[in-house]
Each structure stands twice: as C-alpha cells, then as structure tokens.
Symmetry: C2
Subunit: 215 residues, 2 copies
C-alpha cells in the first residue's frame, strides 16, 4: 500500500478503534519474537471474528498471504504508520491531581511516542515542584510554554466545570489534540481533535453488560 | 416499549456506546429544567447526525413524537433502564495508587448508582488507612470482603503484569464486572463482564485524528 492508495479510502471509526488493539497485540508478539500470525490466531487473542480481522486488515491493501498469514513486524509497522505513530508527540498534562499524576506515571506513553513534557496546575503549592521528574508550572505559564515547546497534545485532568474554558485557552495557542478526561463534551475549533475518556460512560456500558448477562 | 419487546432485539455495540452519551446529556437537560428536545437539538449537542439519533432512539420503541420531540425525563429514564442504571452497584477499587485514588475521588459515580465500598492494595502501608473516607484493606482480605458485601464490580487499577492473576481471584468469588484499566486483554469466564479503559489505545486514536487533520 502506498500513501496515495490509503488516501482514497475513508476508514470507519469502528475500524480505527480496533487498530490500536491490533497494534498493541502485534507489539507484544514482536517482543516475544513471533514472526508471523494467522487471522485465526489474531481473532482468538483479540476476541474479534476472523472474518472481521481479514476485512479490517484488507482495507489497508491486504498484508496477509494465503497459507502464511501476516508478517508481524511488517503489519505492526504499517498499522503504526496509519495511526501516525511513526513520529513523536509532545504532551502536557493540565491538572496535577491524582488523575494527572497517574497519567504522568504511566509507563507506556513515552514508549509509544507520546512524550510528556510538563504538568500545569492551578494550585500554587503544586506549581514549582516536580512530579516523576517532570516540572509542574502554574496555569498562567501554560500558553507561552505550549508555543515555545511546540506542544501537540494536552491531557485535560481538571474538574468538568473548568474544562471548556481551559480547552479554549489551549486551542488559542496552537494545540493539535485534546485528551479529555472531564465528563463534558468540549466545543472546540474543527482543526483541534478531541479524544474523550468519559469514565462514567464507560461504567454505564459495563452496567449494561452486567444487566444483560443477568437476564 | 415493554421488556418483552426490548428482549427481542439485539442492540449493536455502537448503539450501546452512544446510549451513555444520550443519558448524560439528558440528565444535564433535566438539571436545567428542559422538558423536551428535538432530535435536531440532540444531534447538534452530541455531534451525532439527526438521522442517527432518530434511528438509535427508535430501536427502543420510538419515544419521539412528530412535532413535539422527545420528553427529556421519560427518555432519560428509559435509557437509564436499558443501561441497567435503575439499580445500585457496589464497587471496589483494586490498587490504591494515583489512578485508584483518582477514581475514588470521582464525584459522578455514586450519583449514577455506582457505590464505591472499599479499596485494596498490596502495599501494607496503604492498607489500614482511609482514602476519601473509604477503607483501604490488604489484598488478602479481598475475596472474603467481596463475598460478604456482595460486591458487583471491581476496578482494576494495578500494573498490567499482575492484572490477569488478580482478575482470576476476583472471578473466583463471584464478581460480576471488571473495569480494567490495565493495558492487557483479560481472559475471564463468560459470566464475568469486562469493560476496558485502555489509555494507550485512546492516545493512539487521538494520534490518528491529528495525523489525518494534518494531511
């Protein structure tokens, strides 16, 4: 597949949501020195039907070969390229409470190309300190820091009632993506991308599954 | 719609994923004393097409009326019932690190019927303390606590390399749902439901959106 071919197709959101799972699992296989895998094995490990796996992966030009399966390293690299993981992103965390700290302690992000540069907090006691070897600054320094350090992504780990206002400040200084942990739906310009981690909604989905299993 | 009618239909996962968003927004409208809403307004506020909104809501027997729209309170209640929110769930948090603390401090869960009863941690210094007025116990007390207090859900806020083992312990004592924050795909018996919050995958989805917007 080349870039032009990829450009022609509009990949559905459902497929996009599955790509990181493939990517993670393929990376795990690579670390175990597994060189190839069949759609059947991928299917079993990821709990996605084998035909869905084939359909998903065929969308990108069909990396599989009959009787051979998929080359793990090649497929991982290609999916990484599609996801935009063949570059590094710089990220800040807004809000140095428990959630912000949990994110800054996370082991996987840097390994996947998401470099956390700093945290910002409204609390003057938090600002000026370090968390996990990262500097914590006051909110008033946020805009200049983003411009100066060409920050791509901001993780919003602040209370919902302040999220929209802070989002607009972030958008005004060239942020490209917002990783929103607040429970509100942010309204931002079209050029800024938002990915929501709505925890209460996730729990509601679990509630549905439990309810259904009890019927 | 009655239970029998609902039972006949298999609701797709994509629809299920949207229901909590409707529910949250309708709850917000109720708190603002809004009594009715059109599919067009729902569409605009949730960034879902109006025809998708109508299609989603029609699946549950069509609560809307031509020229009137939807009765906010009725629709919120019905969606809540479909999601299984018309009951209370008791929940424990396994892992009292930053993430576990962030979850136990979250304001919304109890309001939505998810009552956090206790935390469990492998660290003997954490055990015996209180966090946000909740008791923290050692891991060895987990099984008996779950049985005694009829716990429905466990939030797994522990390192990925311990998640599968702890999940099996939880399954063995009758837990109904696992809310998995570790980065692995848990293997559990079919009667235990798993909802994943895979943070790295969420970041990868954001990466894709940023990459696409830059093309």
């Amino acid at each position: 597949m080349d870039g032009a071919e990829e450009g022609k197709k509009k990949i559905s959101e459902a497929v996009i949501r599955r790509l990181p799972r493939y990517y993670r699992y393929l990376s795990e296989l690579m670390s175990r020195n597994v060189e190839r895998i069949s759609s059947k094995e991928l299917s079993r490990s990821l709990d996605i039907t084998a035909s869905q796996v084939r359909q998903d992966l065929n969308q990108f030009g069909g990396f599989g070969q009959q009787g051979y399966g998929y080359n793990v390293e090649y497929l991982q690299k290609e999916i990484g390229r599609i996801l935009g993981l063949n570059r590094r992103y710089s990220m800040i965390i807004v809000g140095a409470g428990n959630l912000g700290r949990a994110i800054c302690n996370h082991q996987n992000f840097d390994r996947r190309g998401f470099h956390i540069a700093a945290l910002f907090d409204v609390n003057p006691e938090a600002a000026g300190r370090e968390l996990n070897h990262l500097p914590v600054y006051g909110m008033e320094q946020m805009e200049s820091y983003i411009t100066e350090h060409r920050i791509d992504i901001a993780a919003l780990c602040i209370p919902s009632n302040r999220a929209q206002e802070v989002a607009m400040r972030l958008c005004s200084c060239g942020i490209k993506g917002l990783w929103n942990f607040s429970s509100i739906e942010l309204k931002v310009p079209a050029n800024v991308k938002v990915e929501n981690v709505h925890l209460t909604e996730s729990l509601m989905t679990l509630s549905y599954a439990i309810k259904e299993s009890e019927r």
